[in-house]
Amino acid sequence: MEQPGLIPHLFRTEFRKIIAVLCKAFGIAHMEVAEDIAAETFLSAMEIWPYKGVPENPTAWLYLVAKNKAKNYFQRNKLFAEKIAVQLRNRTSGIEVPEIDLSEENITDSQLQMIFAICHPCISEEAQIGLALRILCGFGITEIANAFLTNKEIINKRLFRAKEKLREEKVEITFPPETEIPKRLDSVLTTLYLLFNEGYYSESQDAVLREDLCLEAMRLTYLLIGNAATNTPEVKALLALMCFHASRFEARRNENGEIILYQDQDESLWNETLIARGAWFLHEASGGEKKLSRYHLEATIAYWNTQKQDTPEKWESILQLYNRLLQISYSPVAALNRTYALSKANGKEAAIAEAEKLQLTDNHYYFVLLGELYTGINSTLAVAHLQKALLLAKTETDKRTIRQKLDLLTY
């Protein structure tokens, strides 16, 4: 085909739109039907397009096929006619086939309502994230398994149980009542945050950047901002964080798609508009009496990272932000970044002492950090740590970066 990336791209962007609209139309009890119809729609595309060519407007084609499949499903499936259509008839006063409205407006509404339905407190956060990846992001089960660092069977079981639970609890695909919003929003934000990171860091696949995914996470976050009830300081801080990270899209990859590390990036490629937008949202997010959220702290760190110049003020600020971040939300990545900031603010010797305590010995970044800290202090140890990192690294990109560091030390 002329455009080899077209179907995967469309799958990412359209699968989740179609499935959200179908779920909304069918109700949460029939998420699997919605999933099946969405999947069959793409199967049809893969069967037909290679022979007849890609249609002029592939998205419209997909929507039309999805609508027809849904209609056929209503008309033909006996089980459906008996069980769901009865309920639907009651709800929609006599209309037999629900309107499958794939307008931009209904897609966004359905997606927003769907994300709140999926992030319902009756299922675990882990299951919420899994379902969100499947339904809102169109992830394959293998990709979700990779994101969770587990296997397909476990994910299948987890998603199945989560759907079962949503069905049992008769969760509605609607916007939650105002009193429930703060609690529900917490898990929505976690999901959006992870969704962005999945695209930005993308460890599961060797594709360095899944911009689509990041933009989709930003779009969903922006949708929350567009709604008065969900336009909270945390949401704005999260969007600020995403803007700052996204500003480096262009600079993060070379022409071969290989990742360029922060310190080697050409900052003239950083997107000034996104940086300015991030700064604006961060400003909007501050000033409330509420405690600073992890998103405020991370966004402020990301802001400092848009200042490429090394100043004592920059690294001291970043160190203190990580100190606070780790107290409210520990992660190995934050622990490693904090130690790097410590080396910049308090010197390598102090950072080595702290790094040795972390003992994140199954994490290749841990050994990359130790290698970096020992560089210029003890070359033998620096090389030994980088070699350990090389053994642990999973992606080609990471291995290449580590080899480059080793070459510099041992040429």
Binding site: E316, L319, Q320, Y322, N323, R324, L326, Q327, Y330, A334, A335, R338, T339, L342, N346, E354, K357, L358, Q359
Partner: protein, 113 residues
Amino acid sequence: MEEFMLIFRHEDGNKVASPEQIQVWMKQTMDWIGGIAAQNKFVEGNGLPFADSRVVHHNNVVTNGPFGEIKETIGGYIIVKAASIEEAVEFAKGSPVLQGDGNTVEVRKVERH
């Protein structure tokens, strides 16, 4: 993993430090706590300001502060996760509070029910 409370006792809570000293001490404290948090061993912590404090005595007699009457005052606490009292003691040894002569860090196991 057990939880231990590290209680900071100051010999003289009224001792006045210069703004520069306070700045240095604050950074040291934040870096120390950050280092514990970076090991995922931090649970919670709080400073206990001396200003506007009261002591309630037998027969509900209320006096200002703990100053004057008690030699040591409690300046704050943190709760850490540790496998043993020995590990908790190692954390305590890094506390900048101990730079003050006569200050102590008391390490106590927290019973969670």
